[in-house]
Amino acid sequence: MVTKTKNKKSMEFSKAVKKATGSYQKDKDMLIQILLDLQSMFGWLSQEVLAEVSEQLEVPITQVYQIASYYKAFSLMPRGRHIIKVCMGTACQVRGSPQLLNIISAMLNLKPYETSKDMRFTLETVNCLGCCAMGPVVVVDSMYHSKPSTQALRKIFETAK
């Protein structure tokens, strides 16, 4: 039974990777673009997915890992169902994003780049989202919140199951 589900899962990976590499005609120069597509598909890049990419593109696995670990957009760990991104750009910094991060971190009991045990939340930081007029900004599942109060944050987190 275990092997069967495993096989099913690896089939799924293989198919997804085939689709991603196929849309770039298996061009090795497109490795970053392919990984970006897979990252947005799965939310993170597992060992199996990276091995598949290496095999299908005929690129050494070390090179795939080098890319996946270098760029900030890729996550090598599973992430929570809700992604919380606190902007740490200079404008937000000046307007109090360290304090905001502090508050969120205390409320969720998470440090940046940690995921809660129940896989509900992942806390991340980001360097400038380009909406400096609203700073400090926190993005919860692609919804932008400008300078949320403690009470507003409590509400946001409560509704995110």
């Binding site: 090795k28 970053i32 900030k72 200079t90 307007r95 508050i103 009470q151």
Partner: protein
Amino acid sequence: MANKKLSSVKELEELRKQILSQRHPDKPIITVCTGTACQTYGSLEVYGKLVDEIRKQGLEGVVVEAKATGCHGFCEQGPVVVIFPQEICYVKVKLKDVPEIVSATLAQGRVIERLLYKDPVTGQRIAKDPDIPLYKNQMRIVFGNNRYINPREIDDYIALGGYSALSKSLFQMTPKQVLEEIKKSNLRGRGGGGFPTGIKWETTRNAPGEPKYAIVNCDEGDPGAYMDRSLMEGNPHGVLEGLIIGAYAIRSHEGFIYVRQEYPIASENTIQAIKQAEEYGFLGESILGSGFDFKVTIHRGAGAFVSGESSALMSAIEGKVGEPKMKYIHTAVSGIKERPSCLNNVETWANVPLIINKGAEWLSSIGTDGSKGTKIFSLVGKVNNTGLVEVPMGMTLRQLIYDIGGGIPQGKKFKAVQTGGPSGGVIPEQYLDTPIDFDELTRLGSMMGSGGTVVMDEDTCMVDTARYFISFCCEESCGKCIPCREGLRMLREILTDICEGKGQEGDIEAIEDIAKVMQDASLCALGTTAANPALTTLKYFRDEYQAHIKEKRCPAKACKALTSYYIDPEKCTACMICFKNCPTEAIHGGKGIIHWIEQEKCIKCNTCFEVCPPRFSAVRRISGEPLPPPPAPETKVIRDKKR
């Protein structure tokens, strides 16, 4: 729109005529800014409702047209709605305002007073957007078209004369003449370096090797800068046209647009723009029947600050790790796949069609001796009018911050302005009258950079600012060369110690020593400039460093470890506001019982200080002096009737 490939200038001009004949300049056009900031404030919903409401009130197609445009630059006041031809500007528009806008302004031409921008200085409402101080003092030659264009409609760009510079270049000028025109205009790279664009083009043109590449750098990593995103999002064809003209001048047939991963809308609009330009024949084989071929591919970045550096960006385009290379040979000669590669910033490319159309003399008539044309700045931080502003080079910092930016909010005192992003530096008040151009800012120890301008007030700690930038660079350093990797790590340690009250005698000198080595020995510009924020804060605010080290005091009361929060029992009215807002329940007391802070639980998030009503001002920040004891438990408030 006739989806037809254009194969001559005549066909382009016929198409332009046809597009213009379908437009009615006398008909009201209502535009909604849908840049990222306005979208966040709900501008897409406002636009949707507007379209519905126009249909509902029967104005559709007959008298008005609604348009979703790119960023107008007035981000603080979003969502921004502008009605042409009167140029009535409504700010902070809510969904519930939409029916009235349609019935009053669009149908009857009546202005809705309450939606107009209110000048914080005079208190007056301003109806027309050219009269708003933020716009009035600008010179929006590159950025100004954003507000007329739906970035997803190539016809909008063509209606404004788009691609006429391309046809002029291809049919009336030789590649060499195009190059000479750019050289003559003295256009300098807008991405930060300020390198003369024409000379860069010439280097690539004359370099041996085929194919040659032309690249748009939209990897805008500087925190606090977002003009490239707004241009790429709001007017992608303007950038694309510049790129094609540049490619023609340097004899390149393949180009790339590298877009930062954090900018999804910019990617989408660029992809759409490339597709439309291909359909019309502005890209592809024999552009407009000229025999010149050029194709463009978009590359999304994957989140690495250093990838904005030219050699690193080119590695990333090759699908490799975006690390800078030693530039024994410049990338203009040996870049992507060791071929000549000409990389320019978004704003630089966007200047090109203007120069071709209006001539080199026109551009060089604007600006200072060394820096020509305009520059778009993102004016952010502690300033009243946050937004994107385009001004002629040579304007002073004071004009930028006070005349356009409207000064510092809440009557606070200006402390410094940070320019040039993590590679730049801070500029204190005494230099506010410095004209902004590439050379003047460098002279002050800072730099123009990509145009991020972060205003800081008295609440910003300069040591903490230096620590922030150093740790930013520390995380973004690729680690390839030792001076940058280790130097930044050491600087971060020292600066963190100072901020935490663990600074020692000799720390300041150590910072200066390490900075010197980094400047001399780092591989790329990230390392050689990374110490600038530390050096300039030291240069202009040495006393703040000394207060941290010697007195264990943070003068701005911003450093957490050196600051405590205290509720003055004499002033507290037990109003429960801070009590309710404290995220860690560190505030004790209750209704009618004076509040006090349990210091062990306090995470110093500043919330209580911010929410305490100004008429009470009971919360105090204390740094460098002992904390007074809390009141006896359960102390009741004695209500003073006068209050």
